[in-house]
Subunit: 207 residues, 2 copies
Amino acid sequence: MDNDQITRKERERIWHRTEILSKALDLFSEKGFHNVSMQDIAVRSEYAVGTLYNFFQSKEQLFEELRNNCADKILHVLGPILETDESEEQKLRNFIKTHSESTEENLKFIKMYVSAYGTLTPTQSSSDSDKKSYEVKAMLINKIKEVVNTGIAKKVLKPIDTEIYVLSLVSSLQAFILESSKSYDKAKVKRGLANLESLFLDLLISK
Amino acid sequence: MDNDQITRKERERIWHRTEILSKALDLFSEKGFHNVSMQDIAVRSEYAVGTLYNFFQSKEQLFEELRNNCADKILHVLGPILETDESEEQKLRNFIKTHSESTEENLKFIKMYVSAYGTLTPTQSSSDSDKKSYEVKAMLINKIKEVVNTGIAKKVLKPIDTEIYVLSLVSSLQAFILESSKSYDKAKVKRGLANLESLFLDLLISK
DNA sequence: TCATAATATGAATATACATTCTATGTTGGT
DNA sequence: ACCAACATAGAATGTATATTCATATTATGA
């Protein structure tokens, strides 16, 4: 129980927290923020309502934590892909492909986010607690723009309107992921993403 | 006051109804379904809360009516564009271009819808009252698919995965409209749509 | 002008939660 | 086994807001 090592109690507490977060995420992604009550979360996570408040200040705060986790995870998975030393073309291909793996995990986040705020495309910062996940999204979008712009500057990609291209790419990926969540079929998702890839890459590569 | 002509009273009643609907639409599109109270609608429309219930059974039902109006309007504007006797290419171009006119009007609907359900892309019928607007959207998407497929069959368009193409086109248009709603600048919207048009048409036309 | 019907009103009621609080269990050290 | 310290429980409280309803206002036509 010395002070630089975490106690079992602390470990358990953290574990319980993540359990609650995980069940809450399931619920939020199924029904959306407003249609999930603390009661619901309590039942699903097999804790009492009061107990939830030992872990989280409020429903808002619980939700916010999920949102931030989400942002972190997405940035962590997708960010590095755009920073390798491969060609711009390859970076973009990898970026799109990766969505088939991160989908199962991130789908819930996407759904949750979308169900609460309506869109994943950055909008005027809805509330204020929103900030972090908003920044993360903006950051990611900027990285993609950068890759495309660099490619264009190097003349390995066709010159196009980067703004529109990236908006289109990102929204298409999101729509696709939401769409595939209906009937989850890994093979189908792979195929769809491959098609999306050739769709969007054809635009950038002169044959 | 004979029975086949509408009385002034009835006309007024209808007018009052649409006034309420219009103000409610403003509110819903600004803040989303859950963040607007009947009180809010009453104040904005300059009626008392109780009066609203003379016109609508419930908040839900009021919202549902707006949703259906929305679906009808969209279908009415965009449907015919896909049914002219122009070339498939031209139909698609017109479809995209038309978004710059219908934007101001439809933006509110889109925002309202999105703020309540998270996406405009058809998903599994969320509730059940959703049915109509769901069907309308599916119908529209099918029409676009048909146009693309016909074009491909006639060999005037390049063969691609229609499913993905249409999903991508529609979601990009929506994202773009939401995006442009931030800073409303008609010229910019036109330019953006022109770029989207060439983006998506390039994919279908072999130079 | 008055009686009646139709509308509109907003205070009162009902309901659905978020949040708090006290009682009850549980754990780990002695 | 006993005692803190801590964790859990779920009933009680407070609040926001959808919905109702008794009353007031207005319109209609004799």
